[in-house]
């Protein structure tokens, strides 16, 4: 279990939509660190504007960070071009949210699955055909599906095709951006099971991006929670869900609709709107909505500090309250 991915201090900004004398910028990522081990599923959770998808695109080499580094298996991939970039791409593959939009409507399923084999010239034409059949079988589709077009498949089947296409080049890391949020619950369960199996049987690491904490809890070993371009809490699934420390993580957990008889919404878990990433709050970005806020929160950016060896949080206030109260979680 050595490091596979090491993201350090990544900053990404975009020009804000619209024109003006002084084009403002969207602060999508403002100094993000993330580490992944081989064969591990890392869940990345956040709401809109959190920057989770931008981070995924940086890892895929589709978005170049303004600052910071992304090291994959010992190789810096920021600024990589040509052959070296292609080699890294062979080993990092994407699965997208919208299974229909991520498949070329004119291509057969077989051709889509084969796309990376063709790109990297793997084996002979016959080998590739055989490999496509194996991959379809692996994701639970029949070989006949190779000749169909995406419009002839159900949403779940399309996402299976998307996963087969990602697996074709034999990657070490799959970056899955909201892979189940367009699917019905019963279909979602099938795809989540498939993602879990990839890790178990093939040892593929997965960076699993989702807005849904419930889904992330189910598939991940490690979880990072993002808010407005920063990671506010990161840790092993067990610790983070059993003892969330950051007030945002706690509110997010409170807000998840759980289908249980006693899950009634008694109070609003988190008041206020998510601020715009064009003009994010100073200091801790969560402070305007936070119930634990002190003066320092609007001045200084809180660093990620260890709670335990496997659990870090960017909230000194919650951390201090926690140590004062022993190990009991803070009530807010």
């Amino acid at each position: 279990m050595t490091g596979l991915l090491d993201v350090r201090g990544v900053v990404v900004t975009f020009p804000a939509p619209g024109a003006g004398p002084r084009r403002r910028r969207v602060h999508a990522l403002s100094g993000v660190d993330l580490s992944m081990r081989r064969g591990q599923t890392h869940g990345l959770v956040g709401e809109s504007g959190s920057g989770k998808s931008t981070l995924a695109r940086c890892v895929l080499g589709l978005q170049r960070p303004d600052e910071g580094s992304v090291v994959f298996d010992g190789t810096e991939i920021v600024g990589l071009r040509g052959k070296a970039l292609r080699e890294v791409r062979r080993r990092i593959q994407p699965v997208f949210q919208d299974p229909l939009g991520s498949l070329d409507p004119r291509w057969t399923v077989g051709r889509s699955v084969r796309e990376s084999l063709d790109a990297f010239g793997v084996g002979s034409a016959l080998d590739r055909e055989r490999r496509v059949k194996e991959l379809l079988d692996l994701v639970g589709l029949s070989p006949d599906h190779a000749d169909r077009h995406p419009s002839q498949l159900s949403g779940g089947q399309r996402q299976r095709v998307g996963i087969a296409a990602a697996l074709a080049s034999g990657p070490d890391l799959i970056v899955a951006d909201e892979p189940v949020s367009a699917l019905d619950v019963s279909v979602q369960a099938q795809i989540l099971n498939l993602v879990s199996r990839l890790r178990r049987d093939l040892g593929v690491a997965v960076l699993f991006v989702s807005h849904d904490l419930g889904v992330v809890e189910h598939v991940s070993q490690e979880v990072s929670v993002m808010y407005l371009g920063r990671i506010v809490e990161t840790g092993s699934r067990e610790e983070l869900f059993a003892e969330p420390v950051h007030p945002y993580t706690r509110a997010l957990l409170d807000a998840i609709p759980v289908p249980e008889p006693d899950a009634r919404l008694v109070h609003v878990p988190l008041p206020g709107d998510i601020p715009s990433p064009i003009d994010p709050p100073r200091g801790c970005r969560f402070h305007p909505r936070c119930s634990l806020r002190v003066d320092a929160c609007s001045r200084e950016r809180p660093p990620l500090r260890p709670v335990t060896a496997a659990h870090h949080v960017a909230c000194p206030v919650a951390l201090q309250a926690r140590s004062q109260a022993g190990t009991a979680p803070v009530e807010h």
Binding site: L60, G61, L62, R86, R89, R90, I92, Q93, P94, F96, Q97, D98, G101, S102, L103, D104, P105, R106, W107, S112, E115, S116, A119, F120, A125, A165, S169
Partner: protein
Amino acid sequence: MTTTMTVTSGVRRARSAVGALPRSARAGAAILVVLAAVAVLAPLIAPHDPNAIDSARILAAPDLGHPFGSDALGRDVFSRTVFAFRTSLSIVFAAVAVASLVALPLGTLAGYFGGWVDQIISRPLDMLLVLPALLLAISLIAIVGPGSLVAALAIALIYLPILARVQRASALVVSQSGFVEGGRARGWSPLAVIRRHVVPNALGPLLVQAAILAGFAVQIEAALSFLGLGTQPPTPSLGLMLSDGRDVLTQAPWVEIFPGLAIAVVVLAFNLLGDGLRRHLDPQGVVS
């Protein structure tokens, strides 16, 4: 082996695509096939030499041997109309083909890359677009001199910015699809992704717009020739014939009516095809 498979499946898909076209598109295509056949086979179809002057038949009314009658020089209007199809359709086809072939890469690159690539490609085209079409054509002809080839180039120049814009818009939409990003992440270079994913998926609106514009091109060609800026006499073209017929409209209306009808039929056929293609390929209406 893979290539032949792709080709046959391509043919099969093309055939089924024609079958699935709306009736109007099929009617338009059928008329155009007939007209193209007339243009190609003009020497076989025309009963007389289109330029043969017959002083005995000046402004003669239509009869069995001369179904469209004769013009002020006694030339057979039917034969001239048949040959005029040849001239006008060639000019239109050349103009639209040149404009489309130039617009396709320019629009695709502008739409896919955006940013400064888009600026470099789109700004000069926008400047072409703001000039009035006929003024543009007349200026070009004033510089180069009149003729069929120049008329074709002038029309192409008018159409280039329109077609490039359409292609840019549809390439922009397709570029945002997951499969385009996926293609890059699967290891293909930007140009390969453009060739494999963007162009095939973005081509529909360009084809539609080209078909609709071809109809108008017949009119522009006629207008240029009518003004003496396009095809030069004695070569028959539909616009020139209209110009000739105008002088004798009251004495011999057939000299004017038949080339006029011919223009109407061509325009109608291209519009039927374009409209049908639009409904088939572009139901959301990227082409305005």
